[in-house]
């Protein structure tokens, strides 16, 4: 597939992630949305690496790798937070978690 095709797929992935992020009220769903967005970015980098853009041929792939690792770390901590919130409040609805609101 051409570079453009991959980029288009990643753009759609990104847009869907964004819409999930905005519309969902459930914290776990929002986390899924973040993963989708990060995946879209990583996919872009890999596509660029494949097209030979970058300082060296593997630069994009290294970036993708770091994104995956960071996303994994983020997912673990965020899920732990969601679980803690669930235990504390009995729900994980973002629009009701307003105790820090001034």
């Amino acid at each position: 597939m051409t570079l453009l095709g991959t980029l288009c797929i990643s753009a759609i992935l990104f847009a869907l992630g964004l819409v999930t992020f905005i519309t969902r009220r459930n914290a776990i769903a929002v986390l899924m949305a973040v993963e989708l967005i990060l995946n879209a970015a990583a996919l872009n980098f890999a596509a660029f690496a494949h097209a030979g853009i970058g300082a060296h041929i593997l630069q994009g792939q290294v970036f993708s790798l770091f994104i995956i690792i960071l996303a994994a770390a983020e997912a673990v901590v965020a899920l732990a937070l969601v679980m803690a919130v669930y235990r504390e409040k009995g729900h994980i609805y973002l629009d009701r978690l307003t105790s820090l609101q001034g």
């Binding site: 597939m1 797929i9 905005i22 690496a49 960071l70």
Partner: protein
């Protein structure tokens, strides 16, 4: 049309379809399972992009790890996630959808116009060896920082869960 192009187009369709389910399905558990498809599809796309190591890592970490975590998380919080009123997209508000459609169109429009300084494509047998060398030479510092970050997040997640348990 080449076979590879056909395959990758198919995978792309899989990715888009699964993420549509993730975005719009009323049942969150189904969304979580669709997530599996989307992430697996991205892994497959990596493979078509000659990023074999990335594909492997994607399937191991995302499809095997994170996705399972999501499914578990959804199941643990079952009684609240099943409430369709609360956990699902609110169709009443049209703004997000309009905005997203506009932005997606804009992105694709821009992509079509963009001029990329495409270099030569290469034919590597396997990127694993080269990636490993890069990580331990050019990217040694980020590599170490990331490993430290992983350790920290591991401990942090455990601390969060255990502290909640004490109460």
């Amino acid at each position: 049309m080449e076979l590879l192009t056909v395959i990758s187009l198919g995978i792309g369709l899989l990715v888009v379809a699964s993420s549509l389910v993730v975005a719009f399905n009323q049942n969150l558990l189904r969304s979580a399972f669709a997530m599996f498809g989307a992430l697996f599809g991205v892994g497959a796309l990596y493979a078509t992009l000659q990023a074999d190591f990335l594909a492997m890592v994607q399937i191991l970490v995302y499809a095997g790890g994170i996705c399972v975590l999501f499914i578990f998380g959804t199941m643990f919080t079952k009684e609240v996630t099943e409430d369709p009123e609360r956990s699902n997209p609110s169709y009443q508000n049209l703004f997000p959808y309009i905005a997203i459609v506009i932005i997606a169109c804009f992105m694709i429009f821009c992509l079509q116009d963009a001029q990329w300084a495409e270099g030569s494509r290469w034919a590597l047998d396997s990127t694993v060896k080269d990636l490993g060398r890069r990580l331990l030479t050019d990217y040694l510092l980020p590599f170490e920082v990331v490993s430290f970050l992983l350790l920290t997040s591991l401990i942090g997640a455990m601390a969060l869960i255990l502290q909640g348990g004490k109460k």
